[in-house]
């Protein structure tokens, strides 16, 4: 299949590793962690209004939750001295509050010391352990290993081991504003915000960043991934800092946000998965977690406050969409989505992408069969969601050049206004979601899954979603001629949307409809034990797993395509 995409070797924008912001950061790691801890402490004190009783309460809540977590949900990656640390916190807390000989100021000092210890510990825990040599090794390993696998699969015979006929870029297509991100990364600070469907995304993005010749980005990776030795190595090598979703206490969340904000101010490029976790429903993220995103807005304001007005202090948001025919975790993700449907608090963080065996099995399948991935780099925006040009200037909708600093000004001065920044973050989140939909690339598999599910839904109008999904799969089939007609109808609409710039379409969609359907059926969720869609012996369309079909169908949610049915 001939596809027009960017297969290009990019020179690194900063050839000297000492110039990499992430290397600079790791060199001054100790001081940096200290700054983070110190600033987190400040913002916690601000939140508690410098009120000692409130602070004490926060500390007690934190202690209580941490003890619960250690007891109920321990992970391999947790440090051994955890129990001791919190035991000590507890005894100091109890002592301080019962000791009547202490004056108010002395008590306050004690509480501050406890807070100090906690934020320091958290900052240390969160901070990334970027080691340049590990990074090099990992990058080589990924590229080399992937290339070997790929060529072994596609080039026949003994020569395959040495063949370089296929590179990873045949498998993973990088599209979009690649030159712009390179340009901007050499001038300002990038915050990359990709869609998130699979645990593979982290490695994939890490690889993309290196292919584009960009210095490594730091990113918040779920601490659960560090449970697995090999993943931990990769993560550390790629500059990941750790996000522990079990810890929801104020000091932790503040330290995490401060870490991110300080790193952006330091000039380190960052990567957030703004959806927070993988999309469980298979839909493109609609609601973003704004916590980390707010740190981009905050860092931008801080830079303006520090009178850094040039492009060196500008933060650029780059949305990235990743498109798959197949998501390894789809079955468990969609099950979870259906069982929780919005009540996230009732379920426990679990990780099913857990064994190295499963991962390697997937990788082998991935390389030996023809399932392609495309990664679209979106247009860069400032922290208010205005598009920027390659020199980093922001433009409003009418194409007029504007100064992002103006957004933070009242009465002629840059001011701090937490409520304002909260609204800005919300606004930015909305813009990112819009860009996700615009950059989304429709694959044949999305088309067939969407059409088939909508047809089944149409045939069972009276059932709600849950009853529909409980229908026995054996009873469902779609007549090919009708299916083909419906696919054509949806496809026409998709091209219409493409023409008006509302989404993108993969080149393999420019064939005749029968070939598209065949391609779609071959690829949709191709490695699952139960296939979401197949053609049966009579040439009609069947599903082996309706829930999975629903998952892959969801990818085209949000374009009003269901109104066609």
């Amino acid at each position: 299949m001939a596809e027009a995409y960017i297969k290009h070797k990019y020179e690194p924008i900063l050839p000297q590793k000492d110039e990499w912001p992430v290397v600079k950061l790791s060199k001054s790691r100790k001081d940096f962690v200290k700054t983070v801890a110190e600033n987190s402490k400040k913002s916690i004190l601000e939140i508690t209004g410098n009120n000692m009783d409130l602070l004490k309460e926060e500390l007690e809540t934190t202690l209580h939750r941490e003890k619960l977590r250690i007891k109920q949900n321990p992970w391999a990656v947790d440090p051994d001295d955890e129990k001791d640390f919190w035991r000590k916190v507890r005894s100091t807390l109890v002592q301080t509050s019962t000791d009547n000989s202490l004056t108010k100021t002395q008590k306050k000092k004690k509480y501050l010391e406890i807070l100090d210890d906690i934020t320091m510990r958290y900052a240390e825990e969160i901070a990334s352990n970027f080691v340049h040599t590990h990074y090099k090794v990992t990058r080589r390993m990924v590229t080399f290993g992937f290339a070997r696998l790929l060529n072994a699969a596609r080039v026949k015979g003994i020569k395959s081991i040495f063949s370089n006929q296929y590179s990873l870029q045949d498998k993973i297509q990088v599209l979009g504003e690649t030159d712009q991100i390179r340009e901007l990364a050499s001038k300002g600070t990038i915050v990359m915000v990709p869609t998130h469907f699979s645990n593979l995304d982290s490695i994939l993005i890490g690889w993309i960043i290196s292919v584009l010749g960009l210095p490594p980005f730091i990113y918040g990776a779920g601490l659960n991934l560090f449970n697995i030795g090999i993943f931990a190595y990769f993560m550390n090598a790629l500059g990941a800092y750790k996000v522990d979703r079990r810890k929801k206490n104020l000091p932790y969340l503040e330290t995490l946000k401060t870490y991110s904000s300080e790193a952006i101010q330091f000039g380190v490029h960052s990567l957030f998965f703004p959806g927070g976790t993988r999309s469980r429903s298979g839909m493109i993220e609609k609601k973003l977690k704004l916590g980390l995103l707010s740190t981009a807005v905050e860092a931008q304001r801080a830079n303006y406050q520090n009178e850094i007005k040039d492009i060196g202090g500008k933060v650029f948001i780059v949305p990235v969409t990743i498109n798959y025919h197949f998501v390894l975790e789809a079955p468990s993700l969609i099950q979870e989505h259906l069982s929780i449907t919005g009540q996230e608090r009732y379920y426990k963080e679990r990780d099913e992408f857990s064994t190295s065996y499963k991962i390697s099995k997937f990788l082998i399948k991935f390389f030996t069969k023809g399932s392609d991935i495309s990664v679209s780099i979106g247009r860069a925006m400032d922290v208010l969601g205005n598009y920027v040009d390659n020199s980093g200037n922001s433009f409003d909708r009418h194409g007029r050049k504007i100064d992002t600093r103006d957004y933070f000004i009242s009465n002629g001065q840059v001011t701090v206004d937490a409520q304002r920044e909260e609204e800005y973050t919300y606004h930015l989140g909305k813009r990112i979601v819009e860009e996700f939909h615009i950059n989304n690339r429709v694959f044949s598999s999305h088309l067939v899954a969407f059409t088939a599910f909508q047809m089944i839904k149409q045939d069972n109008k009276k059932l709600d979603l849950y009853s529909l999904l409980r229908l026995p799969e054996e009873d469902i089939f779609l007549v090919y001629v009708e299916f083909r007609e419906a696919c054509q109808m949806v496809l026409d609409k998709i091209f219409e949307l493409e023409a008006s710039g509302k989404l993108q379409v993969a080149p393999h969609m420019k064939q005749d409809i029968d070939s598209i359907i065949t391609h779609g059926l071959e690829n949709v969720g191709m490695y699952h034990a139960k296939r979401p869609l197949i053609k049966n012996r009579n040439g009609n369309i069947e599903t082996q797993d309706l829930t999975l079909l629903y998952y892959y169908h969801n990818r085209l949610d949000g374009y009003d395509l269901e109104k066609l049915f």
């Binding site: 409003d396 009418h398 992002t404 009242s410 002629g412 206004d417 409520q419």
Partner: protein, 352 residues
């Protein structure tokens, strides 16, 4: 903190010197220098040389101009006080001079249509929420300004002009806009409340105009206070349902900008919308009434848009629907009233 040099203190802008604009400019001028934009040269002349608008004296701190650029450069905070029919056009002339540091408030209780290029209301089969814009949405759509707010509440221009005690609501998603509105507007006789549900507050002001026309009609028919009580409370229910469907919160509708404004406009001969209803009931034709009024009664356009929206949604809004027939389809007011009396309302209050 050092005191700011007063000569550097920026002015406050007021765009549109209709009766409400003039009243607000006067209140603002008690504390700040005000630059007022008017389209007509004679009016600017009258403001600058005689300190009057249409013969009524105004505060001498108000400077008139016809130059949008000058106004935008001299003011960080600008109040747009123009009828909805001209709103989009005026905003577009100001748009090139507005920057993200501007705070923008408006006091317009109307709606705008937002249709695809080249389409008219009559071309559309159905009207969705996206086809209707409140004034703050117009500002966000047409300009780069993001810190936007609105003024709404029982603020009859004539009474404000006379300096009688009153209150208003400044609504914005941004606290700083609310605080700035309060700082600029609050006086001994003018109380300013804040609300973060800007769309709800805008809709309160917009939708109450429908009920005000109906209230005027009842009075014109010579009906009593029982009937008015009935209309106001049923009108409130309709307002809450419509407002909710358009994205406002119930809390805002039962506040000053909702109930407060509704009660005022349904009882006042100073209200333009009320007057339209009153004169209709006295037998005048809508076209005659509109010709003889020098300022717009927003309610008429609102009835037209909301009726289309209600049909698109498949909702029912009996007062609005019947008022539409009276205004545009020559239904007799008596017949509309009959219909309303027969309509099967069953529950008194079911929205709280």
């Amino acid at each position: 903190m050092t005191l700011k040099n007063s000569s550097k203190e920026k002015s406050v802008g007021v765009v549109g010197m209709g009766s409400f604009g003039t009243a607000i400019a006067n209140i603002l001028a008690e504390k700040s220098k005000v630059i007022a934009f008017a389209r007509r040269a004679e009016m600017v002349d009258e403001i600058n040389h005689h300190h009057k608008v249409d013969g009524l004296p105004i505060n001498e701190n108000i400077v008139g101009t016809q130059d949008p650029e000058m106004l935008c450069n001299s003011c960080d905070t600008i109040f747009f006080m123009i009828p909805s029919s001209a709103f989009q056009e005026v905003i577009r002339t100001f748009s090139p001079y507005l920057y993200p540091y501007h705070l923008i408030l408006h006091g317009t209780k109307g709606l705008c249509l937002n249709l695809p290029e080249g389409k008219k209301l009559s071309d559309m089969k159905l009207i969705n929420r996206e086809n209707i814009l409140t004034m703050s949405e117009v500002i966000l759509k047409e300009t780069v300004a993001i810190r936007v707010g609105c003024l709404a509440g029982p603020n009859l221009s004539r009474e404000l002009y006379l300096g009688q005690p009153a209150a208003t609501v400044v609504a914005s998603k941004y606290n700083e806009v609310i605080l700035e509105g309060q700082r600029l507007l609050r006086t001994d006789k003018f109380q300013v409340y804040g609300n973060s549900d800007i769309v709800g507050v805008e809709l309160s002001g917009v939708l109450k105009n429908i009920i005000a026309i109906a209230a005027g009609a009842l009075a014109g028919l010579g009906l009593g206070e029982n009937a008015k009580g009935l209309l106001v409370s049923r009108g409130m229910v309709e307002l809450v349902y419509l407002g909710n469907a358009l994205g406002g919160s119930i809390k805002s509708f039962i506040g000053l900008a909702g109930i407060g404004d509704l009660v005022t406009t349904c009882n006042s001969t100073l209200s333009r919308n009320y007057t339209v209803g009153y004169r209709l009931a006295k037998g005048e034709k809508l076209s005659e009434i509109l010709e003889s009024m020098d300022e717009v009664a927003e309610g008429i356009n609102t009835v037209r848009l909301i009726k289309a929206f209600v049909e698109g949604r498949g909702m029912r809004a009996p007062i609005t629907e019947n008022l539409y027939k009276v205004l545009f389809e020559d239904l007799k007011i008596e017949e509309a009233l009959q219909y309303l009396m027969k309509y099967p309302f069953s529950v008194d209050v079911d929205f709280l």
